[in-house]
Symmetry: C2
Subunit: 430 residues, 2 copies
């Protein structure tokens, strides 16, 4: 089964824009896919008089389904590289309070009561929200990930399921969850859209022994790791007191970074930490809205990118964000970087983290984070057909000066009018 | 003509929430208006068995039009207290560049070519965007404000039109624009929805003579002033070099603050400046997205509020934002305040600028800024019927824990499904 979108603005996320190639990142043209793979991405537009790029394709594929993309932009599906999708259950439950009040009076007591069924319900809401807003892949860290995986199967989102543990009884549940999650990911229903990583919660909440066990299990199953790193100043202090080093140094010493690792937050990283992340190919995930709302700080995103670290983008959970909106998150990432200077320039700089870089964080870098560079986060022949279409006719796109800027600074997730994961339509509103 | 919305979540913005009154700011009930005034706001909900708050009203007003507000939230229309609506024309034209490049290569040459017709076109787009997103009043600063006023008449938004000037030839055009704008505001078509203020651009771009002329004209016409204050560090330095004081002190000395004044930005204000603003009842307008994007800094919003300054909220123009979305702006205001500590606490504080305070900035404080406290920004009998209705059934509202939090941290302007200005429907999507 083939589908073609024609006459749309196509943003393939495959180029490297330069100062004199403004607007060269996108073109009017078409994209086509067969089953779960993209087969054709070309500029050009049919006219009444002549042949467009799509005409030859359609001549060879007369049964192809055709969607007219006039007034639409087509781009790769967004990758939410750090979330806790089931935390939609705690959305707007307790805001504007100190971090420890929020954790002790809200999150922890609530989570203590959660079973697999509730977690599945929270995941269903969060996945609905993400698909509606153009997110086609989520990297999710929680427990009962097998239950979340079953919901992901049913709803068709692509997911990296990361069963999580902290010291204590949850460590035992974790090994059971891991086995079950691996089975869900390998199932026929998952259709290859699910994969698994191991998620020790953090350097401060897991013992060295349990962190080493995570490394061992990751090696045994040939899978990656996903953890929180340097989210708060308190975490820095605790690890410094316990181990005389930074969380990054500590986790590196334990061998975590010998495994492909996704490190969420990376706010209080030192220059040496940044070098370690780069050397070991660790992905840092920036979660600006959660970090601002909890007053955790701002990750030095531009500095990490400049030094060669792969930095992706995430929403974190809806209890601290309070939504799972990657367009909103892209805008905040760019604004926060400009306001702070993002590790490069004290006092801020309006040139830091340009729009296209932010789009890369939400697509190409997310794909790299999960070992799917070139397969996801781009529109290119051979890549997976995870595709998002936006209606760009709203007043907030006027006068259509630069669609890359528009996507970061004025687009809304509610502009998303079409979403395909692995070539299958998961949302449509035309 | 009377209209009643029943069975909705009503957020009247008239209470003062306390720590133990969580969720007491809103209730399920109804709101009714006759012509341009609200006549009835009551909690209660009709059931099949019994009478709701609305039943008595409907018994007395059998011809009243009724809207079922189930799944909806009804609140006062938002007040965008600082914008340049016609700058939609420059949206996404040049982002991620240094401030002076943006001004010299983009804004100024473009603006030099703008006539009244283009400005009206830009205003038409911006007003469409604002009404769609729940903004019912704009405080607009530009030139050709008479042209903008005619568009506002036609489209039905409430507006404070502020003809602006800088030194040079535009000063002469300004006096002509002022006369014409006053005529438009007084016209029958405006229906009392338009008023006028005088807008000297800033302390650094207007001579003392011209600033005094602004004061004189404001007194002569009995109208207020709207200007930019302390937007950048450069402005602080220039005024310090020229006059040996801060922009706030300088403008105060010239007598501007003897007139009701709206001061946009107020980023680099000193404690003494804050005291001056409070003493003179000057409204400071916070524009967090524009300030972050241009790396101008962060206004000490929480500190100003604590010291008794009226702080309202604005989007600034779409050339530096890049949209006119007050929901987005509310979220950013709260996140930025938490991240910075907002003048109160260095290093940030997750308790600063709670959601209800931000909602007040966008409603009650905006009304106070334009001398319409109690008339706008609240749902109360006798107030003007500037009303916004949101669909709160989307996944990003789940599980409906606290609608005040939801409006600031997870609502989207695209949830707005009904907008009335002075009782007349300006947008509806049910």
């Amino acid at each position: 089964m083939k589908t073609l979108i024609k006459n749309a603005a196509i943003l393939p996320m495959v180029g490297t824009p330069t100062a004199d190639s403004i607007n060269a990142e996108y073109f009017t043209g078409c994209v086509a896919w067969e089953d779960d793979r993209i087969v054709f991405v070309e500029p050009g537009q049919g006219t009444q008089a002549g042949m467009g790029a799509e005409d030859e394709f359609l001549a060879q594929n007369p049964d192809c389904k055709v969607i007219d993309g006039r007034g639409k932009l087509v781009m790769p599906g967004l990758i939410n590289t750090h979330t806790h999708v089931a935390m939609t259950l705690m959305r707007n439950a307790m805001d504007d309070v100190p971090l420890m009040t929020w954790l002790e009076d809200n999150v922890w007591p609530f989570e203590a009561k959660l079973g697999a069924d509730q977690i599945a319900q929270g995941a269903r809401v969060g996945i609905t929200e993400m698909l509606a807003g153009g997110t086609t892949t989520m990297v999710d860290m929680y427990w009962h990930e097998a239950a979340i995986g079953r919901v992901a199967c049913e709803m068709g989102i692509r997911a990296v399921l990361c069963p999580s543990f902290v010291d204590g009884p949850r460590m035992e549940e974790f090994e059971h969850d891991l086995t079950e999650t691996l089975a869900v990911a390998a199932s026929k229903e998952a259709g290859g859209r699910l994969s698994v990583r191991i998620a020790p919660h953090s350097a401060y909440s897991c013992s060295a022994e349990n962190l080493r066990r995570a490394v061992e299990l990751a090696k045994q199953h040939g899978i990656g790791i996903h953890t929180h790193v340097s989210e708060t100043i308190d975490e820095q202090r605790i690890i410094r007191e316990r181990h005389g080093c930074t969380p990054t140094e500590y986790l590196c010493d334990l061998g975590l970074f010998d495994i492909p690792t996704i490190a969420a937050h990376c706010i209080h990283v030192t220059d040496r930490d940044i070098e370690i992340l780069r050397e070991h190919g660790v992905t840092a995930v920036h979660n600006p809205q959660s970090n601002m709302k909890l007053a955790s700080g701002a990750a030095p995103v531009a500095k990490m990118l400049q030094r060669g670290v792969n930095v992706a983008l995430g929403t974190d959970g809806a209890a601290s964000n309070n939504d799972l909106d990657m367009f909103d998150e892209m805008r905040t990432a760019s604004l926060l970087a400009k306001f702070t200077g993002s590790g490069l320039i004290d006092g801020g700089d309006s040139t830091v983290l340009p729009a296209y870089e932010v789009l890369k964080m939400a697509t190409v870098h997310g794909a790299r984070a999960i070992g799917m560079e070139g397969q996801l986060g781009v529109l290119a022949p051979g890549a997976l057909a995870d595709i998002v279409m936006l209606d760009i006719t709203g007043p907030h796109y006027f006068p259509g000066n630069n669609l890359v800027s528009a996507l970061v600074y004025s687009a809304k997730s509610s502009d998303v009018c079409g979403v395909w994961v692995a070539g299958t339509e998961r949302r449509r509103r035309l």
